[in-house]
Amino acid sequence: MQRQRDPDDRGWEHFEHGADVGIRGFGPTLDTAFEQAALALVATVTDPDSVRPTVAVHLTCEAPNLDILLVDWLNILLYEMATRHMLFGAFSVRIRGNRLDATAHGEPVDLARHDPTVEVKGATFTALRVTDEDGRWIAQCVVDV
């Protein structure tokens, strides 16, 4: 699962970083770029389409700026997936100022169906960027696996 894109130009992709993986989400709004970045994060572990949305988890975070908000968002997801022994496969994000409110949908890890590869250790500040490029938002960073 390396890249997904849909007609309104929302999507995600992975980019190269030496030993690890860069994740990038993009879309017409900041919210969609963060949702897509979350899908890119999950896609380092499993195919997000294999995750059934049976459980909804509400999450919030706040940061001094949008860059750090992205790192915090991804790290909250890693924490919740680790402690709940879940994988998420769908996200709905709402960002107002530097505060993020989100719902993550997913299910408990099923080793046979999800064939998860690696645990992601953390989102990093490497290649970290949240930008609006002529109406197309990009949210990206490298994650340590």
Partner: protein, 481 residues
Amino acid sequence: MSIMTTSSIKPIRRSGHTWEIPRQGDMRVPAVFFATAELVEAMDDKVFEQAANVATLPGIVRASFAMPDAHWGYGFPIGGVAAFDPEQGGVISMGGVGFDISCGVRTLLTGVTADDILAYQKKLADALMRHIPAGLGSTGAITLDPVEMDAMLAGGARWAVARGWGEAADLERTEERGCMADARSDFVSAKAKERQKREMGTLGSGNHYLEVQRVAEVFEPDAANAFGLRVGDAVVTIHCGSRGLGHQIGTEALRDMVASADRYGIRVPDRELACAPVDSEAGARYLGAMRAAINCALANRQIITQLTREVFASVLPNARLDLLYDVSHNTCKVEKHEIDGRRRRLYVHRKGATRAFGPGHPDLPEALRATGQPVLIGGTMGTASYVLHGTAEGMDKAFGSACHGAGRALSRRAAGKRWSGRRIVDELAAEGILVRSHSSRGIAEEAPGAYKDVAAVVDAADAAGLTRKVARLKPLICIKG
């Protein structure tokens, strides 16, 4: 991202296997690389930039060092070593330790030969796979309540042995005698403890593994004898770290230090180099939590050791698993080193680098002191791992430090596209190596071909004088995290 413009700068050769980026711009010291021309040529330019960036940090002593397996990391290169003097404004940096705090390797002797193993190879592989939790989301049989969590974070492997996971003799053969002093469980967040409470005694995923190996070659018979290694012997090697607790501490420390670097007026060329003065409150908090994570890693490897002994007791009752040594390769430790004739107390960061104390070092157990510290280098599941020993020359050259592994040649993404996990398992089985894993995609990403040649890395460390080769180990069984 970086204010340095060193990305186009390549190190120049100073002598046989020593290369240098001379001090320039904001660099306080040079950046020194130990490698062959081929390894330097193969390094990403980002490694040179990162090593030069580390050289700008306050209080750095002598040089920013890079080991032969150096590759592009976060802030510090992986394979980076740097020491800081608190008397000169020295700092502590999360980037110099990494997310998997105290990730490391331990090797156990078995008292049986590879031929003894071969008769039970499949049974042993299956039993190890069943008994040792591995892979994403795996949890152990142990759940720590808050009191035991704090006891584990304070006591490390010593705590594990006191609870019945191992023997007192194991502690002698573990760095810090199995317990990192001055760990502060009260500086470890509730979230980090929550992540760990069911993860004790688990391998984790990614490049973590447990291997049963055959001693394929001995290079220095006296040292091999002192380490108890003979050609044809079977050994067990475990590679894992501080699990979710270490990842969470690293995540939180990076966030805190990005803020605190500004507060302490430290100008860093890369946010990932965020750091705090050793003597500051932020520095003390990270040090205390990081040391607790070291204890978590030591306890984790100790519990896995005991689980491994249980498997061997049921499959090969003649085996006796004695610990050769346990090394960590993502740490910051306080050590005394002689600089220009004066002994100084330094905070030595090793990020993807192994401590390699030379002969006579007082921290080594008596049985190993004359030889020097065992340095355990993990290879790949298809090639080889190595046992080396530290040298007096390495103490002088790089604070007693060496490489830690082969280093990736291909990204996980590229490896996942190129190889099929199932085919790799079949190919290695044909070579006599049994691989067991919960994830076929994980095996593809860890394909032997995705790594650099570990022999070239080890030979470079040897030629640079950092270490001496003792033995080469070939895998027989690999339980992949």
